[in-house]
């Protein structure tokens, strides 16, 4: 079983410089503490730096100020202890489903049998048993995204990052996969950080919702969601929390807020 990771983000700032333009503050003094086993969702308007923050945590970008620590160890580069699911499923089209998931275990140091077991278990976890030998083009969008989740979890990471994983799916599939993610999170007990545009998704899945604003990208509000799982999207308390988050997104997302609410 994976040990859930404790993620600490302290005073993280990041700037982009384009020639001939003033510096852009993508992230400004971001502080966030993610308890082991928590489900934290980051919401915010486009350009608030939420995806950039995930890139820093996964280790694809080391150029920032401040500290990011996983279990009190500063993160350096990418590692199998941190998994990610991208918005595009990013399965390699020339590998079958099981080969795609197996690819995340290449450098796990496990034995052949352990790898096979992990692949099988995670295919079962996301409900794709029977499709082991299917190529990505034979899977529907929702199935491909499940496969990507299985790949993200197969190496038993301490933390799983989800970068708008359901953004490209149709509404029905999305709701269905939200249920699945909720179940998987409870079964695996792994720390998860989700980035999304969808406020309802955030309230449905998280212990904690972090609202970010743009220019400069920073955290404007953090809300604990104490509703019991599984959650009812029509529950008045649920709706009230949704409204609070939309209000917190206010300044930049004001119009979206009134329309979506």
């Amino acid at each position: 079983m994976a040990t859930p990771g404790h993620l600490t983000i302290r005073n993280v700032s990041k700037t982009y410089s384009l020639p001939g333009r003033p510096l852009v503050n993508v992230l400004s003094r971001v502080n966030l503490d993610v308890e082991p086993g928590a489900f934290v969702t980051i919401v915010g308007p486009s350009g608030c730096g939420k995806s950039t923050l995930l890139r820093l945590i996964i280790g694809l970008d080391d150029d920032y100020k401040g500290e990011i620590e996983l279990n009190d160890k500063r993160i350096v580069g990418t590692a199998l202890s941190r998994g990610i699911v991208f918005q595009d499923h990013r399965l390699l089209p020339w590998l079958t489903l099981e080969q795609n998931i197996g690819l995340s275990l290449e450098n796990s140091g496990w034995t052949r049998a352990e790898k096979d077991l992990a692949v099988r278990e995670h295919i079962a976890l996301v409900g794709l048993s029977g499709f082991e030998k299917a190529y990505p083009h034979e899977l529907s969008g929702g199935m491909a995204q499940r496969a990507a989740i299985a790949r993200g979890l197969a190496s038993r990471p301490e933390i799983l990052l989800l970068d708008e994983p359901l953004g490209a799916l149709d509404a029905l599939t999305r709701i269905h996969l939200q249920d699945e993610i909720q179940r998987i999170w409870e079964v695996e007990g792994v720390t998860m950080i989700l980035v999304t545009h969808d406020v309802e998704e955030a309230v449905f899945l998280s212990n904690k919702v972090v609202v970010m604003a743009a220019k400069p990208g920073s955290i404007v509000e953090t809300l604990d969601i104490d509703l019991p799982f599984p959650r009812d999207r029509a529950d008045p308390a649920f709706v009230a929390l949704k409204r609070r988050i939309l209000t917190a997104m206010g300044e930049d997302g004001g119009k979206t807020a009134t329309r979506a609410a």
Partner: protein, 283 residues
Amino acid sequence: MSHTSDTIEAAAVEAATVDLPAHAEAPGRRGLQLPNLTGFILPFIILVLWQTAATYKWIDPVFLPAPLTVVTAFWKMLTKQKLAFDFLASINIVGQAFIYGSAAALLLGIAAGLSRKVEEFFGPTFDTIRHIPGIAWLPLIVLWLGIGAPAKILVIAKSVFFPVFLNTLQGIRNVEKNYIELAKVLTLTRWQLIRKVILPAAMPSIMVSLRYAAGLAWALVVVAEGLSGLEGLGFLIFRAQGLLLTDQLLVCMVIIGLVGFAIDRSMFLAQKRVLKWKQGYDG
């Protein structure tokens, strides 16, 4: 890949597509089908026209012998002359030239694709050599190596080399950045990245160039043999022209066409097999 594992895979995929409502249209090619005859209509029409033209003497038989005369000539060339020998001589040259040319192209193409330094080192030289047609190299190479097979192999290998080299290089350069990023997230080593991500991603482009190069090699052997040497289909064609043996000339042309067709079809099947992961457009 063994045949068994292949059928198992096909069965699983079939099962997968059946279970999946969103995927109602399974890719075709199921069960036994009558061979599609559409492609034979035009050759048949040409043959009929040819026969009619010969029967009514629309064209002087010296310039266009009847189909049956050509078949007789074929039989004569096969039994009394050494058509099979010439045929094998041509096949041998093309086979060797294709293997050497494409092997060198794949090696250097991969090296240049993976390293800008290697590309910069070879770039200007290759771009210059590339623009001198293979046939223009032949006279010099014949001076060096004589009129035997090696000179022709070298010249055709050169012509095979460039399309494969350039497509391999381009195929590698066009690998999606997202996949490289994924490899980084999965902590793949450079070698794993090349083997599992970059080469498979470049494979469609490589396979297209191999197919093209195989056809090109076959077309060039005729020219090369016509220009130098005393054997091969190309030699026979030019000899037939000189001696006004139009029937033999036509025999050679038909063989060249059919072999070219067979080469292209087998390359296409190889391509389909290697790229079976690719969602194809079946028309």
